[in-house]
Subunit: 145 residues, 2 copies
């Protein structure tokens, strides 16, 4: 399971090292896609298979949302990239994804169960502050559903 928060730097060559604790689970190749909210999602190949299968199959359940579905899939698939992890655990983030979330020198790498999220570190800490305040509320809400 991928958990925890790590702040790493992005060097001039656009490289960023994956936290050592994530490497075993991530394997050698990963899929990086634009995420929801201002972040990127990183999936293992295995997880990506699951995700893409579910996204494409959900037509059956969500047929009334077809146009939305198409657009969402364009969003997720169209900008996804397969990226290799180098011998010492670093990846290259494509420029178009970097720009999308305003990455500059440092990024926050967040393990969220079955994916890694990449955030501008400042945006991350701000959004966490906001979320921590709501956490109790959210917990109750999810607890009831």
């Amino acid at each position: 399971m991928l958990i925890g928060e790590y702040i790493h730097t992005i060097d001039e060559k656009n490289r960023i090292s994956m936290p050592a604790k994530f490497r075993k689970e991530l394997g050698k190749k990963i899929i990086i896609t634009p995420g929801l909210e201002k972040c990127l999602f990183i999936f293992t190949l295995k997880e990506w298979e699951k995700v893409s299968k579910k996204l494409s199959n959900s037509n059956t359940e969500l047929s009334f949302l077809k146009a939305d579905q198409r657009n969402f899939n364009r969003y997720m698939f169209g900008r996804a990239a397969e990226v290799e992890i180098d011998s010492i655990g670093r990846i290259l983030i494509p420029d178009f994804l970097k720009d999308r979330i305003g990455l500059k020198n440092t990024a926050a790498l967040i393990g969220v169960e079955d994916r890694v999220e990449v955030w501008n570190d400042k945006v991350w800490s701000q959004s966490q502050e906001a979320i921590s305040k709501q956490a109790g509320e959210l917990a109750e809400k999810l607890g009831n559903s």
Copy 2:
């Protein structure tokens, strides 16, 4: 069952020793997460499995499609850490968790049935005073529900 209150110091390397009475039950590895209210939760791996299963409904659907779910998972998983207990019973508290609850030199370790809570010792004693005053009231409330 984990019970009791212990005040321990946190050294310059961010280490804190688990009370000897907790060690057998905690095992070799634990999960430490932000708690609700201003404390951290420490779970055994077994307990964490239960907790995380309840938190994510990733078996049934994609965990990232609902905004509330995303945010709560970021909070619970993103700021969790799997931590080993060293040969003499100490753990390392990640900085981002330490900061969150304002830990400095000493912490209160509280056994609460199936988890351990970590508090800033001063915050703990204050909140205890407050709670003891309400305890009777709280009991009635819970008895009625």
